[in-house]
């Protein structure tokens, strides 16, 4: 369970560009929830993710995972329990290393990276299985360098890599935004499948209102560092994309976007 309590974040305090992004921001994510977060640019979606992951520090407030305060934990330490897929397909994989090497790396997450052999041939079958589930034909290309794959393929591998080892949370940071519509759909379906299969708790930030509506168990819309919409369960299933779009436009016009 993830809790953000009374998070306050001010950008550039004391300067002309001072901007208070979050003021007493609260969020609770229960185990097993799949949250979609939408909002306009600057609403704080990505900042919220970065605060959770530790890339940005909050000015005050607490971040708790399973009731443990992780405020002081360095960013890389938090990733022990968190998996993250980035918007840029290049950020989730190593282009000059093979698929096998990348998966071996991801497989070792949480364990020491010592002097034992990096690639475990015995796990190759397991990796093939995982790649097969993507349906992209990558299971035969274990020794291909990731750099030669397309953006969508790389993102798919990044997704597998992020979820290969046990996680508390999966953070999806606009991970389909850089893909063409068809590939984006494929990746989104895969994401949903992986989350369901591995029973993950997930937070997905997206600009795609349709995905936000169709996938996930809870929908949040953010604006200026606050939630303006929080739909779960039946309320969510009854909402359509048009409804969300309407609310979105209303907010946007109000801010003069």
């Amino acid at each position: 369970m993830l809790e953000l309590k009374n998070i306050t974040k001010v950008y550039n305090p004391g300067t002309v560009t001072e901007m208070c992004l979050f003021k007493d921001f609260n969020l609770t994510v229960k185990d097993g929830e799949f949250i979609s977060v939408v909002g306009s640019n600057g609403s704080g979606k990505t900042s919220m993710l970065n605060i959770i992951c530790g890339s940005i520090a909050a000015d005050s407030g607490e971040i708790l995972i399973n009731n443990v305060n992780i405020n002081r934990q360095k960013d890389f330490k938090r990733y022990n329990n968190i998996g993250r897929v980035y918007q840029n397909p290049a950020m989730g994989t190593c282009p000059n290393m093979t698929i096998l090497e990348n998966l071996s790396l991801a497989d070792n997450k949480g364990k020491p990276f010592g002097l034992s052999f990096g690639i475990n041939r015995k796990r190759s079958d397991f990796y093939r299985e995982q790649l097969e589930s993507l349906g992209l034909g990558l299971e035969d290309k274990l020794n291909l360098k990731i750099g030669s794959l397309s953006g969508g393929q790389r993102q798919a591998v990044a997704l597998i890599m992020a979820t290969l080892t046990p996680l508390d949370f999966l953070i999806l940071d606009e991970h389909t935004a850089a893909l063409d519509p068809r590939t984006a759909d494929i990746i989104m379906e895969l994401t949903d499948k992986v989350i369901k299969d591995k029973k993950l708790t997930a937070i997905m930030v997206t600009h795609n209102l349709r995905y936000a509506v169709e996938y996930g168990s809870r929908l949040l819309m953010m604006d200026k560092g606050q939630f303006v919409l929080d739909l779960s369960g039946d309320l969510k299933t009854k909402t359509s994309t048009d409804d969300i779009l309407g609310i979105f436009n209303k907010i946007s016009i109000e801010c003069g976007n």
């Binding site: 990733y79 989730g92 190593c94 290393m97 991801a106 990096g118």
Partner: protein, 299 residues
Amino acid sequence: MELEMLELFVSTVTEGLIYALLSYGVFITYTILDFPDLTVDGSFPLGAAVTAVLLVAGVNPYLTLAIALATGAMAGLVTGLIHVKLRVRDLLAGIITMTALFSINLQIAGSNLSVEREIDTIFTAPPTLAVFGSLSLIYRKLIVSLLIALICKLLLDIYFRTKSGLLLRAVGDNSTLVTSLAKDKGLVKILGLVISNALVALSGCVVCHAQRSFSSTMGTGQVVFGLATVIIGTTIFKKIGAVKGTTAVVVGSILYKMCIQIAISLGLPANLLKLITAVLFLVILVFGNYRKGSVRDNA
């Protein structure tokens, strides 16, 4: 006359093998870590300075190899800490360490230190003579240097296949991924710098054994040498995927030394030496890049 040429060839290849250790080091930082490390200009003579002092003091010549590795490792550690903990840019961190090492080397061995012929080096000490005594000094230097270069290469090749080695490769390829794997990318970079500079100092150590001297100016330009050999080696072997980077840079180092020796042997006006060397490099690189009807690589 053939003997003459063979001897020259042998001593040139030996130079190439000794300096290949430096190339390994630059390969690790420049190619794998994507970190242009100028510490090399300081850690190379550091290895030689320490070695010269130890040899003159009567320390076991073989032990100097290990000690040189350790001092180089420390130099790399310093650069790493400056870069990671003090958040100084990669290039500058290396420059800072290199500059400091210049003074430190002077303190260790003065501006110049020679090792008398009476003192044994790894090429003349009893254990080496016991195995290779039948060979002349030039061939002994070749064999011993070859052994050292090979052992280092094998160890590196094995290392890059370990988990730690994969992580090292990852940090240069995509450091964000390293963070996502819950590892401190700063520490991984530091490890790379440590290993790299240890090898560079080892190169300086063996050079000191071969030349029986340390000179405080011997480090100048070594990072340029290292980069040149790495680029020459990797360019030539670009098409052949099966050749490991470590092999490529050994070839690069030997080729570089050969080019210089050719320039010397051509008997052209002495000042044109560096120009001729540059032309030879160009020829090799163009030759290595030439592909009939090729498509440019994707960046």
